[in-house]
């Protein structure tokens, strides 16, 4: 599965300046891609375009060579894309277990398969006994985030987009998310992780997209990027690129 953006630009209002400008990018499943950038650099806008939540962009967007504008069906259902938003939106009245069960069935799992996957995700993310008993409205922010991540990976997904997955998570949960991402990479499930925690991206990503003010500073292999910059840490590289862009 391959997402390809060709000269994609986007602005939220006709009179406003471009929020994204001339983005050329390829994201493939089966590997982990890190997405980093300053606040307001267009990371979430890019994600929303990838999910076809924003459609009035300029340029071309293809999934597996098919133009996204021509796809009538639900994009996430058709291609098996899971998504965990920055601020998790859950059915507050239901328990996490109930939501996971229902979404698993919507995504075509049988009751037993859904149960197995929920048990697996629950143990990986340490969702605890509250998952089955407590209603989502009573969860802490971290718990909501973990349920949202579990929802993204539930079922036969081929690619998962995580927007700021580490917000509100404790160190143990951060480790758990990293393990989950790596485990799913082994199962050929690709992940796009948008985060400000560059250490995390450095630890788990194969590819890296760096953005600033709606433009792409870098989009390619993480190893190549480090080789280009004398094997420095990602945060140092990001800082030097960021400053270089500012001088320009």
């Amino acid at each position: 599965m391959k997402f390809a953006l060709e000269s994609v630009s986007y602005k939220y209002h006709p009179t406003a300046s471009f929020c994204l400008s001339d983005i050329n990018l390829t994201v493939e499943s089966g590997r982990v891609t890190g997405l980093a950038g300053a606040n307001g650099s267009g990371k979430t806008t890019l994600i929303r375009i990838l999910l076809r939540q924003l459609v009035d962009y300029q340029g071309n967007y293809y999934i597996d060579g098919e133009t996204v504008h021509d796809i009538a069906a639900n994009l996430c259902a058709k291609y098996g894309i899971g998504y965990s938003p920055d601020i998790p939106v859950l059915d507050d009245v239901l328990t996490g277990y109930e939501i996971l069960g229902i979404v698993g069935q919507i995504r075509g799992l049988t009751r037993q398969e859904a149960e197995d996957q929920i048990t697996l995700l629950s143990s990986l993310l340490d969702l605890g006994p509250w998952l089955r008993v407590q209603q989502c409205g009573e969860y802490s922010h971290g718990m909501r985030k973990k349920v949202s991540i579990a929802l993204a990976y539930l079922g036969p997904v081929r690619f998962v987009i995580l927007d700021e997955p580490l917000n509100g998570l404790d160190p143990v949960a951060v480790m758990a998310v990293r393990t989950l991402i790596e485990q799913k990479r082994g199962d050929k499930v690709g992940t796009l992780v948008s985060s400000h925690i560059l250490d995390f991206i450095e630890q788990c990503a194969d590819f890296c997209i760096l953005m600033k003010q709606g433009t792409l500073i870098y989009g390619g292999g993480l190893r190549q990027l480090r080789t280009l910059h004398g094997n420095k840490r990602l945060d140092e590289i990001y800082l030097s690129l960021f400053r270089a862009e500012q001088k320009r």
Partner: protein, 411 residues
């Protein structure tokens, strides 16, 4: 004065103990006895059969109805103190409200035991006098049934509040003291059992629906139950029980009343749950992991509303089939009207999904209009026969069709 309730709120108990304030009303109890005696006398005098049993259902079902009323009151001030009749509980934390609930149950238990005796006595006396000693055993059984109903109901209520099995609402959970939270944690097994039974109900409810709709029907059922167990599961169980009893006990004596009950109970239940339907639709549209078309959501709502109606339809048909075959047509017509009501209800629920800013009252208003319309149709059917529904239903269908065309053009 060692009672913490008195320290908390003088107007709850004042200097007079709480129990005595409730139970110490001899004037009220004497009036209860007089009214019960009058009711018993009238019921038995109007009944021409030698063994008068008209008072029995009244006596046996009065207790559950009263217990239900008390439960609703306690549920009100425990879970929704702002909507409660007892204004003073608004400012109290959950632990104190629970304390008041426990005392209230205890006080009501004493009061009801006295009231039950004062109401039962004239009924049973008049009955034995009228029907003779042959009815003594049956009268004794009824008296025992009433006492047992009272004891079991209040026993369950005391268990709920004494063992911390009642669950605090979300806001209270945040502020709940550590001690209470710990005790509540002891009942987690109970809550897990409850959660499992809800899941079973949801699975059973969607079993015969189309495969793509099943998860959404399960979600809708779970949403209704989780949002307000009393308005959904409680009222439906009670309604079905009432329908069964009315069908069994009243259909021979008062068939119209039994039929009317079978028609209006489900509408009343849908009316009570109207706001939850709307809220569920709104929520469904905001959660990104659900994807459902407007038409499918309408079908989901239709299925859930149909589930509410189904037992009453069966009850009504059994009632007619067993005793009054001539009424089948009018009941079928009334059920037809109810089905139209269903469509309206389902469609109204969908508006929330399509337009999240839709007014919360529209579902309730639609059902109210339908209820009035149903009663109007029922009266006209009784007066003018089956011509009215025969003409009325196509007219409604036409109006609905026009509405649908209008919506299709403008949405």
């Amino acid at each position: 004065m060692s009672d913490p309730v008195f320290h908390l709120r003088p107007d709850c108990g004042g200097t007079i103990p709480f129990e005595r304030r409730i139970t110490g009303a001899p004037f009220l109890r004497s009036w209860q006895t007089v009214i019960a005696s009058a009711a018993a006398g009238t019921a038995i005098a109007m009944d021409s059969s030698p063994s008068s049993r008209m008072g029995d259902p009244f006596l046996v079902f009065l207790v559950p109805a009263w217990i239900l009323f008390i439960s609703a009151q306690i549920h009100g001030f425990l879970r929704k103190p702002r909507d409660s009749d007892f204004a003073f509980v608004i400012g109290l934390p959950y632990a104190d409200r629970l304390l008041i609930a426990r005392r209230y149950v205890r006080a009501m238990m004493i009061q009801n035991a006295l009231s039950a005796v004062s109401c039962m006595a004239p009924f049973l006396l008049v009955r034995i006098v009228r029907c003779g000693s042959s009815e003594v055993h049956e009268s004794g059984a009824i008296a025992l049934a009433v006492v047992a109903e009272l004891a079991v109901s209040f026993g369950i209520m005391r268990l709920l509040y004494d063992r911390y099995l009642s669950r605090p609402n979300r806001h209270d959970r945040i502020h709940v003291p550590v001690l209470l939270a710990f005790k509540w944690g002891d009942a987690s097994l109970f809550h897990e059992m409850i959660a499992r039974s809800f899941m079973r109900i949801a699975y059973a409810g969607a079993e015969f629906a189309g495969r793509p709709l099943r998860p959404y029907i399960r979600r809708q059922i779970l949403y209704l139950i989780r949002k307000d167990r009393f308005s959904s599961l409680g009222l439906q169980s009670l309604g079905v029980a009432m329908s069964a009893i009315l069908t069994g006990a009243l259909s021979s004596a008062a068939p119209k009343a039994a039929l009317a009950a079978n028609l209006f109970i489900p509408i009343a239940i849908l009316f009570a749950n109207g706001g939850t339907f709307m809220e569920s639709g709104e929520r469904l549209s905001t959660c990104g992991y659900y994807s459902l078309s407007f038409r499918d959501f309408f079908r989901v709502n239709l299925w859930v509303c149909g589930m509410v109606f189904f037992p009453y339809l069966i009850g009504g048909l059994v009632c007619i089939g067993l005793f009054h075959r001539t009424d089948i047509l009018s009941f079928a017509a009334a059920m037809g009207v109810a089905c139209v009501a269903l469509c309206i209800a389902g469609l109204t629920c969908c508006f929330a999904y399509r337009f999240s800013e839709a007014g919360e009252d529209s579902m309730g208003n639609a059902l109210l209009v339908v209820a009035i319309f149903c009663s109007f149709m029922g009266i006209l059917s009784a007066v003018a026969g089956s011509v009215v529904p025969a003409l009325g239903l196509p007219a409604i269908a036409l109006v609905l069709l026009c509405g649908r065309l209008y919506l299709a053009r403008h949405l």
